[in-house]
């Protein structure tokens, strides 16, 4: 397991404490700047390794940064503390965005990012919880993170714990049936502490989702499965923060975050290749 970076963890703690007292609009510039640095590190990592999924990384970066810096109750110095909030990255192929975000929070040293995909690195192409602090479950094959997140949220309910669980799903990933099994479980148990965030960039590996296997009407699907649905601009930090801060009431919450694959790099945006 990679050790924490105490100095960076302290800085992260201070940033979080400051953001906690700000409105979403006031917090947004800080989040935007952090997301920019995360994208920069991620780009360097993927370029150096010659391996990675920058398009999906960049569509999910603003979501991850907003969660870690503005929402999640986590402590990089104690990554396994029982009462931490949980974030599960079900779209595990965007590990690059997660690693860069975790490093910016101090879960491990930023220099580790240089080892991404190198022999014996803790930073595999898909996240491994036994090696990387902050990772909750090993993902990679799609349709795995959501049932695990439902189980985590269920554990919180059984233990009467206020901790929250967030799972980040790719939109193409929703073609895996196991997601809808988990959607039913979460709704059945009324897991209002669970947020499923759909990174709705509209693209999957080979084509647009709607050309491959229709997901729309997506919001109606989630509603019919018993979820509260919130739709946001997945690159608008103020909207994201406001949405994530507002707790669920009686039902689990699906946040459909409309995003752009490759966001932030003009020639990459919204392109399949």
């Amino acid at each position: 397991m990679l050790p924490a970076d105490p100095a960076q963890a302290r800085r992260f703690h201070d940033v979080r404490a400051r953001l906690a007292g700000l409105s979403p609009a006031e917090a947004a510039p800080t989040l935007r700047e952090m997301a920019q640095r995360v994208r920069h590190d991620d780009l360097r990592m993927v370029y150096r390794a010659g391996l990675g999924h920058l398009g999906g990384d960049f569509s999910v970066t603003d979501i991850l940064v907003t969660l870690y810096a503005g929402v999640l109750n986590v402590d990089p110095m104690h990554p396994l503390s029982a009462e931490r909030d949980r974030l599960v990255l079900s779209k595990g192929h965007t590990a690059g965005a997660l690693y860069a975000t975790l490093a910016h929070c101090g879960f491990f040293a930023r220099r580790e990012l240089e080892t991404f995909a190198a022999p014996e690195s803790a930073l595999n192409g898909h996240p491994n919880r036994t090696k990387v602090p902050g990772v909750e479950t090993n993902t990679g094959p799609l349709g795995h993170g959501f049932p695990v997140a439902a189980g985590i949220a269920l554990s919180a309910r059984l233990q009467a714990s206020p901790r929250r669980t967030f799972v980040v799903l790719g939109d193409g990933e929703l073609q895996e049936g196991s997601n809808w099994e988990a959607a039913m479980t979460a709704a059945h148990y009324g897991l209002s502490s669970l947020f499923a965030i759909v990174d709705r960039n509209g693209l999957q590996q080979g084509a647009r989702t709607e050309e491959t296997s229709h997901l729309e009407p997506l919001a109606a699907k989630w509603t019919s499965f018993g979820w509260e649905v919130r739709e946001v601009d997945g690159h608008d930090h103020a909207q994201l923060l406001s949405t994530f801060r507002q707790p669920g009431t009686t039902r689990p919450v699906c946040v459909i975050a409309h995003t752009v694959k490759g966001k932030g790099v003009s020639f990459m945006e919204d392109r399949v290749e």
């Binding site: 479950t137 554990s155 714990s161 196991s178 479980t185």
Partner: protein, 320 residues
């Protein structure tokens, strides 16, 4: 032999599973059960009555079942994820690999009605591939109890084990085979009888049949050593290699396909470290015909008589 004379009294191991789980749940509030609409067939009816909030039924959704169990473990609970073995291991194999074994989630996977127990329900419901599949997954102990005592030991061991595990919960009625005070440890098999002519290595339902085979061999003056493998993974390599060195050959017997289970493990080990004569009894790589579990065990040569015949075959053909 007193052990063989008790062979007429048969037990279903499911009660030992259910009672031990309930006893553990009374001691430790982290114990929860998760099932796939299989409250009855997973033997969780009494558990549900006593701990209604700690029985999570996800419905007919095995992938979700295993993922949810991994999430409960992440939250600090100790889930016993229970379903008919063919669906738990077949339908949810990738969840077993990624969410449980690779993630090292403290989940106890409980394969109910394993092997050929579902008999005439047919090959869709037989769980004979599970030992091959799960032996191929890293960092996952594979536990196959042979009687109610071992079933209870397995449940207690798995609950205390900090990592994941897979337990077969026998449904086919079996006699008691476990000597009092037997240890229960990963990588440790039980030697049930001594003998230096031939070795019978059996697991699960085949153990009592191996004991009967040893009894008949003894009457013919052949000393058969019976080794009861409880942990198919990790295997007791010492006991197997000793048997290869000290007896003329080994017969393995399991209620599973011979492609990758106990026999394959013994073959791989001995071929590389101490080549010996081997006869591997199990289900060949074929789908079973219609018939009860008893019929199918006979059909596939998984009886005391077949085990004894295989031992004879070794004695005839093997040079010392």
């Amino acid at each position: 032999m007193s052990r063989q004379t008790q062979a007429d009294v048969l037990h279903d191991c499911r009660e030992a599973f259910a009672d031990t789980l309930i006893a553990l749940a009374r001691e430790d509030e982290r114990i929860v059960a998760v099932c796939n609409d299989s409250v009855g067939s997973s033997n969780l009816t009494k558990f549900k009555a006593e701990f209604p909030d700690r029985l999570i039924n996800v419905g007919i959704a095995e992938q979700d079942l295993v993922g949810v169990a991994a999430g409960l473990a992440n939250g600090g609970l100790i889930p016993f994820a229970s379903a008919a073995a063919p669906f738990l291991t077949g339908r949810a194999l990738e969840q077993v690999k990624a969410d449980v074994a690779y993630s090292q989630a403290r989940v106890v996977l409980c394969g109910q009605s394993p092997g050929l127990a579902y008999g005439a329900l047919g090959p869709t419901h037989h769980s004979i591939e599970d030992l091959s599949w799960l032996r191929a997954v890293a960092d996952l102990p594979v536990v196959v109890p042979a009687d109610p005592t071992q079933t209870a030991q397995a449940v207690r061991w798995a609950a205390a084990n900090p990592g994941p595990s897979y337990l077969r919960v026998p449904r086919f009625p079996v006699p008691d085979v476990t000597p009092p005070g037997s240890p229960f440890q990963p990588g440790r098999a039980l030697r049930l009888t001594d003998g230096n002519d031939v070795t019978l290595i059996a697991t699960g339902t085949m153990v009592s049949r191996a004991l009967r085979a040893a009894d008949s061999l003894r009457k013919e003056g052949i000393g058969a050593r019976v080794i009861n493998v409880v942990f198919v993974e990790p295997l007791d390599t010492t006991a197997v290699l000793e048997a290869a060195a000290q007896t003329r050959g080994i017969v393995t017997a399991e209620e599973a396909t011979t492609t990758g289970g106990l026999g394959a493990a013994v073959a791989s080990l001995t071929a590389q470290h101490r080549p010996t004569h081997l006869r591997i009894l199990g289900v060949p790589r074929s789908f079973a015909p219609t018939g009860s579990a008893t019929f199918l065990l006979e059909h596939f040569g998984l009886t005391a008589g077949h085990i004894a015949a295989a031992a004879h075959d070794i004695m005839t053909h093997a040079t010392v």
